[in-house]
């Protein structure tokens, strides 16, 4: 099995999807000949031509509006928003159009073929316009699916599933891991299920929930905790909307303790949704309050990034606090 980094895995998934179905198109800013600023779409234009892989003008609302129309027509657009921070000009097209297309037409028309890819998250010295994690804005919108992979293997399988899913998907890619995360990825076509969380490590004392780049942080925190004899169960949510509350609840019934972590600011963040749902379902089984380890309620900083981010030590402290409550 070849080793790939996360970008290569995404490129591989796009290549497979385009080879299999000529209705699949990739486009966005600098996506064509250049292969995207991160090179996720490298060589796709050479292989599939300028009609199927191309640059767009710098206009995010246009990219998503165009993609909505294409998907309604029956094509399978994979639109790239260069940084998740720049998805907001397209907010109206995503939230009012993409998300509601099927519902408002009574399923006469839908944009299920649409996938929007966007690199998200911090750790690259990007300041607040190249580091945000805007997933919570979209998890408030019925009709969208929100998917975040944690490593190359997951990225390929989840992206292929997203492209082929009958609903529109926003696929947030942890850009800090684009080249930093490598691993074995099968050459062949495979899919990982959307809407299902994965227990990446079993344990009995405390449940840790995260997604995307935060799973690597959780893993490092767990290493520290286990040295102290704390047994941790780790869950990668993988899909934030619709999200797999059952898997988290089952885990919580076993461990009685929950720590949720994400990079985005705390207030209104998705950890709040998880905490609310789980206290509703597992209240009598809780041994300690559900804890959140998140970014601060500030814009994302530049030089103080390391302090701002919810790192392994902060997660480790939360684990200890949860267990020693």
């Amino acid at each position: 099995m070849p080793t790939m980094n996360l970008l290569q895995a995404i490129n591989h998934a796009l290549d497979i999807a385009m080879a299999e179905d000529e209705k699949v198109l990739c486009f966005g800013e600098d996506v064509g000949g250049f292969g995207g600023v991160f090179r996720a779409t490298s060589h796709l234009q050479e292989r599939y031509g300028r009609a199927r892989c191309f640059n767009t003008p710098l206009v995010e609302q246009g990219i998503v509006g165009f993609a909505n129309g294409l998907a309604a027509q029956g094509s399978v657009p994979v639109a790239e928003i260069q940084f998740a921070d720049y998805i907001f000009p397209a907010f109206d097209q995503i939230v009012n159009e993409t998300a509601k297309f099927r519902y408002r037409s009574g399923d006469l028309f839908n944009v299920g073929g649409l996938t929007i890819r966007a690199p998200y998250g911090g750790g690259i010295s990007g300041g607040h316009y190249h580091s945000q994690s805007p997933e919570a804005y979209f998890t408030h919108t019925p009709g969208l699916k929100i998917v975040v992979p944690r490593n190359p293997y997951e990225a390929k399988g989840l992206l292929l599933a997203s492209i082929r899913d009958p609903d529109p998907v926003i696929f947030f890619e942890p850009k800090r891991l684009y080249r930093a995360s490598t691993g074995e990825v099968p050459e062949e076509d495979y899919q990982l299920p959307l809407g299902e969380a994965e227990i990446t490590k079993e344990g009995s004392d405390v449940t840790l929930v995260g997604w995307g780049a935060q799973i690597e942080i959780i893993d490092r925190a767990v290493e520290l905790a286990e040295k102290e004899g704390i047994s941790c169960e780790v869950i990668d949510l993988r899909t934030l909307l619709p999200w797999d509350a059952d898997t988290v609840a089952e885990s919580l019934l076993k461990t009685g303790r929950l720590v949720v972590t994400h990079e985005a600011p705390q207030t209104g963040g998705f950890a709040g949704e998880i905490a609310a749902t789980l206290q509703e379902r597992c209240f009598l089984y809780l041994e300690s309050p559900i804890l959140r380890v998140t970014g601060l309620d500030t814009p994302f900083p530049l030089t103080l990034e390391k302090e701002y981010l919810p790192d392994h030590l902060k997660v480790f402290e939360a684990i200890r606090e949860s267990v020693n409550y």
């Binding site: 206009v59 246009g62 509006g65 165009f66 129309g69 094509s75 009012n96 099927r102 009574g106």
Partner: protein
Amino acid sequence: MTTTRDIHVPEFLAGDEFSIPTYRVLTQEGTLCEGAEAPTLERDEARAIYRAMIATRVLDERMMAAQRQGRLSFYMQCTGEEAAVIGATAALDEADMIMAQYREQGALVYRGFTFDEFMNQLFGNELDYGKGRQMPIHYGSRKLHYMTISSPLATQIPQATGYAYGQKLAGEGQCTAVFFGEGAASEGDFHAALNMAAVHEVPVIFFCRNNGYAISTPAIEQFAADGVAPRAFGYRMHVIRVDGNDILAVHRATQEARRIAVEHNKPVLIEAMTYRLAAHSSSDDPSGYRSRKEEEAWREKDPILRMQRWMYDQGWWSDDEEKELQERLRREVLEAMKRAEKRPPPPLDTLVTDVYAEVTPALQQQLDALKSHIRRHPEAYPKGARFLDPELSRTDDEGES
């Protein structure tokens, strides 16, 4: 790439030095303008267009009255813009996609959407294709290639560019016509759509109904330019301005636009100069922002009257036919309205369907909880939605036994 000439003194080009002519074929008296080419419109098609214009006017009048009687929550009339919308639609292939803003019911009428289909949407009953989820006038028809209306303004314009790009790749010789008002042309979506269409050589017709007002804001407060048409130059796009109340001009211009779009894969902008004779919507009162005198002046330029005179002149229409048609349409609209009003709303389950391709477990749980709640408080909820759901007429005790 554009070639430019060099200058060596600061020579500015002023935006107001350009003015775009208006293409007009028919005088208000229904005769051909001097020098106008003979119309391409033939008898049967002209009659079909005329009937659709009358049907749209009748529908609008009856439904506006129904709204005033409290039978409908909301309505929007096409009055004054029938020639622009229907003339353009008639010049398209019936399989071309139409993406409308909200005032283009005439296009649906022309393509054969029945009064029953209109009424089912307006009353949001169980037969509404949109399952009662949108306000009245948000029609859609897959069969008639008419994209379901979306309320946010101008969002359909870049979607039309995308849809048409897909049509180009499919290579079946179809295009997309997208309608919008001059107010919508102020939105960023408009720029996004035209720019992308020009860059990617997309067979799309951008049809601007310049009807003078965006709700209460007059065109003069929307843009300083000579209308919307000059913007096409900035995108290097074909453009024409037509008299939107002149059926022959609109039809001919759209025919030609379609040819350019489909044969050359190029977008075209049409600006149809017309006037919104009615209010913006049933919630609007134009007496608050424009004079009756202004409206009366435009009433004399009524596009239906102009076409009627031309039809009479051709010997293609008569008073008897007019009378028969008007009476029949009024009867048919009323009958359809009565049928639609009697139908129940969509079943309760449609609250959670079509959000995703499959109902998610969480949505199913929420629906089950809602039904259980309604069973406990049946008197607090409308009978309609429960009508088709026998389960909801049971009590909770029965449900559990």
